[in-house]
Structure formats: structure tokens, C-alpha cells
Amino acid sequence: MNMKTKDSPDQIKDKAHKVLERAKQQNNDGINLNDYTLGDEGKPEGTLHSEEEIPEDLKESMDKVGIDVNEKKSGLYLQTGNKYDLCVSNTPGIELLPIKEALKKYDGTDGKLNLQDYLWKAVPYDKDQYTAEAAIQEISQGYFIYAKKDRKTVFPLQSCLFVNLPGMKQVVHNIIIAEEGSELDIITGCSTHRIARKALHLGVSEFYVKKNARVSFTMVHNWADDTNVRPRTGIILEDNAEFSNFYIVMSAVRNLQTNPVINLVGKNSSYYGQTLIYGKGNSYFDTGATAHLIGEGSKAELISRVLAIDSAHVKARGTIIGDGKDVTGHIDCSALILSDHSRVDSIPEIQARNPQVTLTHEASVGKIADDHIEYLMSRGLSESESINLIVSGFLDVDTSPLPKKLAKETEKIIKLVSEAEMG
């Protein structure tokens, strides 16, 4: 873990303001935070008390990001805008709390965990204007998931974040801690309500996976064509920790940029990340992941599958830095371009910092090969049927690193989302 000296809340705010100042001078990355408002300051928290109270239109939006309220689950967290609506959990030893409550509860007194030891340790608050904004908003809201030692989720934990007002900026801070030997399966969906359209989602997520713990995280995004999205994710893996990360975006978006940083500090820790992007309309995506292999024998695999149509522009990145002894890493970026005006940049990068690392990458970008289409046509499929079959095969991600239940769930989500988005 990053052991740099702790900044006081005032110091954090101070520095964060400086970061914002600097960002302004550099044209704010094209997104001016002052163009958006939190929008729901007066709204009360926790207005719902059980899943039965979830309004139908919200359920519909949840469906679109693959969250089925009727599925068995270990817990459910729902947040609209910057206030949480519902937070229920039912698995002993696994806690799900709104982050503000968690910060009050876990203050380090009476031998309890001190959340301040984790806050901004996996994601630096002075990384950019978005983390700085989240630091200044002082944890607007978000979820805290805490798996105690050796505790395991039987069913996935579900979480849903909605942006529901036009012009809104949603600032979220999530912290997930998996203690030694614990196991967590999490499905999370984020979405813009159709009336919100012009909005900003800004999500900080910090994961701490301790010795021998395992986390699988499936995230589905469903945005509107005028929504800007800036997730900021940091993951710290200790000895033998395992992390599987599935990220799926198949909706249009205005501008989405994310690059989770995974620090594999523990011996034999491992990270498996798959990203699925279906870029359409005028969407601009810049997505990637950076895995830093530090612990001896640690390994990382970064896989991305990109489809681009209309005038979408997708940058698919992946960086693996091999620092430790006997570490291995592999990047696989494949993309299909399905229209004349779409564009995909595939940018794999591998850095070896000692001779005892094995790093590889493969990347391909192109249209669907004619001989593939003709092969399927020679089995009786029409041209469009052939293309559909090739595309769905291309999207058929490998869910085998996930636990069986979650793998099935993830496959279902991908199927559902892709059918809805691609017709």
C-alpha cells in the first residue's frame, strides 16, 4: 500500500484547489466542472427502505445495465444523483454502507478499521481535476463494501448509480476492502436517465484486496449521448490476491475516459481485465488499464474488444509495467471497424524493467474479413446473418475467470445489453 504521509483534510482541499486551478489553465480537458451542478443538495438520503419500493422507471433503467432486482443477491446499493436511495445487505461478515456512514462508523476507535487509512491511497486525489473535485466535494456519496476475514459472498452484491437531472454532476467515491481470504462478487451498473442527457459522471473507486482474497467486479455503463464520464479507479493487490474485472459499455456517450491503475504489490497476485466497447453515434472513448507488476510472480492480462460504427472514435489502451521478478503480462486489443467514419486506435504498451519479466501483446484493428463472411455464407447464412454471427462471436468474452454464478450472470448481461443496443 502507498504509505506516503497522511494529509489532513484541509491540506487535501488546499492541494485539490491547486489542481483545479492548474486544470483550468490547461483548458480543463475540454470539460468545465463549473458547467455542471450537484443539483440535489436538499434531497434526503435513504428514501427507500426495501427493493419493493423501487419505482418502476428506475427498475427499467436498472435492467438496462443488467441489474435484475429479482435475482438473488447479497446486497443492493442504489444511488440517484449524489444521494443514496437504498442500501440493504444480508450476508453476515460482508458489509455494504453508504460511504459517508462508513466513514463515521470506521474511524479507528475501539480497534475498528480506520477508513482514513484507505481514503485516497489507491487513487491519488491530486491526479487530475476530477479526483480533485471529488476531494473537494468531500465524499459526496458512494458505497463502501467491506468483506471481513475469510467471508465470502454467496450471491453477487448489486449496485446502481443513476444520473437523473440535466446538467448534473454526479460525484461518487467508492471504497471496497476485501480482507484476508475473503471473496467478493460485485455487479455494478451506471446510467443516465433519458431526461438528464447532458451530465457528468465522476466516479472514484478504490479497491484494496488483501492476502489470499479474491474480487470479481462486473461493471456495465449505459450513458446518454451528451454525458461525459470520468471513472477513476485504483486497485491494490496483496500476496496471492486475485481480481477479475469486466467492463462493458455499449451505449453512446459524449466523452468517456478511464484508465484504472492496478498495483500488484503482492507476491503471485493476479489481475484479469476485460473491456467491451461498442462505440456508436459520435461517441468518444479513451479507455485502458495500467497494471504495475511489482510483487514476485505477479501476473496481469488486459483484454479489450472494441466495435466501432457511425462516427465513433475509440482509443483502446493497455499498459503493463514489469518491475518484479518472474512477472508475466499480456495485452490483447482487438477491434472491428464497422463503418467508414468510425475510428479505432489500439495502443498496447509493455515496459520491462528487469530481465526476468515476460510481457507480450497482440493488437488488431480492421473490418470483418471477407473470407470470414464467405465461409459462413457457404454454410447457408446470408451476408447480414454472417456479420451478426461474427460480431456476436467477437463480443463473446471469456467469463471463465469468474465464479460460475457470476459468469452466467455476466454472459446474460452482455447478451441483454448487446441485443438492446445492436438490435
Partner: protein, 271 residues
């Protein structure tokens, strides 16, 4: 009834004339073999019969079951009952062989009720071809060995059950044991062991070795193809023996096997 009739066919590939004045007639129940050196245009012929994009018919016609199919899209030709076993099919990332087989089966009119489970029929066929269930869940042709490619191709034919089968080098790159297995299935697919009046399937087998023919029973006719056209047609035993003895070049004029036929009896057709 004529199953496949090709008349005066000329075909261009990327501006280059590959097939010229090509004629062929295969009746229902007949199996023909097409022999020829590399580059003679054998695979071009197959891809033209299928109607692939880059194979431009500049002259002549192709008839299947007496219907002119020269300008039909590939899938419509397949739906009429043409099937093909490719020599080098492409590997398709993410498309499982099991899925492809299910799709073939649907095209054949079997209702599979949209399940992801492979029907027991297909599973049985796969077992006959020594494909384990986990194998059948691999991406089609991705990392398959030569024999596996051929077995996967023939498995698709077993599901599609076409009336006219085109085999492009079914025995190339396959070990002896697998050649026998593949030949056994080809023999079934081509109705070779039925009495002639019950033989409803036809076949065109492209090979440049002829070894597989040993297992296929009666072959109706053999043709030698060179430089994009048929130079010699006739009795399979005579023609194959002549090639074995004199090479393809001697067949350019199609006189060697006729002239020396009496001398060729010493050569065993079955190799």
C-alpha cells in the same frame, strides 16, 4: 437429372483469367474426381461454384439441378443443396464450432428451440469424428491441426447433408488414420454403399494425390485440369495410373493414357 452442369465457363480473379472454356457435367448419383497440378485452378472452380465475391464469371453458366445459379448469392446456392469442404477455411475468433454446427442445423430446417445446448444428434456425430465436447467448444479452426480442420469441415457437412458435395483436397495434411475416418464419412455422405438407383448424392472431389479414392468405392469419372481447363476425362483407374506413371505434363494432350492403357495394368489403382 444433371446435378451440376458447367458450360463454357471463364472466370477472372482480380483481373486475371483463371478458368477458361471450362465444361463439366455431373449427374445425380455420380462422383467425379478432379486432378491437377498446383495452380491449375481447382480451388478457383470451387469458389466460383459457390459464388464468392472475387471470382468473376466473364463467360458461361453454372447450372445446379437444371437451374442457372451463375448469379445467385452464395447462401442461396447452399440452401439449394450444395455443400463444400474447404482446404483452408479461416479461423474465426469467438465463434465456437458448436455454435456454427447449431446454425448449420437450423439452416437445414431443424428447430433447435434457441437453446445453447448442442442437440444430441450433433453430439453423436461429433463423437463419431472423435471430437470431445470441450473440443467442439473451441473457436472454429483456431489452432486446429490439419486433421482437425478436415474433421470439423466434414462434421458440418454431416449436419448440412447437401445433395452435391464439393471436396477441396480432403486428404491434404491429414495423417493416414484420419484419412480413413474422413473417407468413411465421405462414402456415407455420397451414398456410395447404396444400390445405384438409391444414390441421390453427387460429389466432386479435388485431390492431387488420389490416395483417399482408394476408400471411396466407385468413382464415376476422373478429369485432369491444367491451366484453367479440363484437358482429359475418362476412366478413373486409367487416368490416375497414367498420372502416377507419367506425371501431369504428359496428360496435357490426353493421349498417354489411351495409347499406353494396355501397359498400365501392372500399376495398382489402389496404390
Amino acid at each position: 437429372m444433371s446435378w451440376l452442369r458447367i458450360e463454357k465457363l471463364a472466370v477472372e480473379v482480380r483481373g486475371k483469367l483463371i478458368l477458361k472454356d471450362f465444361n463439366l457435367n455431373i449427374e445425380k448419383g455420380e462422383v467425379h474426381v478432379l486432378l491437377g497440378p498446383n495452380g491449375a485452378g481447382k480451388t478457383t472452380l470451387i469458389k466460383t461454384i459457390l459464388g464468392f465475391k472475387n471470382y468473376k464469371v466473364v463467360n458461361g453458366h453454372i447450372f445446379f439441378k437444371d437451374k442457372d445459379i451463375t448469379n445467385l448469392p452464395t447462401n442461396e446456392r447452399i440452401q439449394m443443396g450444395i455443400g463444400v469442404l474447404f482446404q483452408h477455411p479461416p479461423a474465426i475468433n469467438g465463434l465456437k464450432l458448436s455454435k456454427l454446427l447449431t446454425v448449420c442445423s437450423e439452416k437445414r430446417g431443424n428447430n433447435t428451440e434457441c437453446t445453447d445446448e448442442l442437440s444430441s444428434d450433433i453430439q453423436q456425430l461429433a463423437t463419431r469424428l472423435k471430437f470431445s465436447p470441450e473440443y467442439i467448444n473451441r473457436d472454429v479452426n483456431l489452432g486446429f491441426s490439419g486433421g482437425e480442420v478436415k474433421r470439423s469441415e466434414i462434421l458440418q457437412m454431416m449436419v448440412l447433408k447437401p445433395d452435391l458435395l464439393l471436396f477441396d483436397e480432403p486428404d491434404s495434411g491429414v495423417d493416414v488414420e484420419n484419412v480413413e475416418l474422413i473417407a468413411k464419412i465421405m462414402r456415407e455422405l455420397l451414398d456410395r454403399d447404396k444400390i445405384p438407383s438409391k444414390q441421390g448424392k453427387s460429389g466432386l472431389i479435388i485431390t492431387h494425390l488420389g490416395y483417399i479414392l482408394k476408400f471411396l468405392g466407385h468413382i464415376t469419372r476422373a478429369h485432369i485440369m491444367m491451366d484453367g481447363t479440363i484437358t482429359c476425362s475418362g476412366d478413373p483407374a486409367l487416368i490416375i495410373n497414367s498420372i502416377m506413371k507419367n506425371g501431369f505434363e504428359a496428360c496435357r494432350e490426353c493421349v498417354s493414357c489411351v495409347e499406353n492403357s494396355s501397359l498400365l495394368k501392372e500399376v495398382d489403382f489402389t496404390l
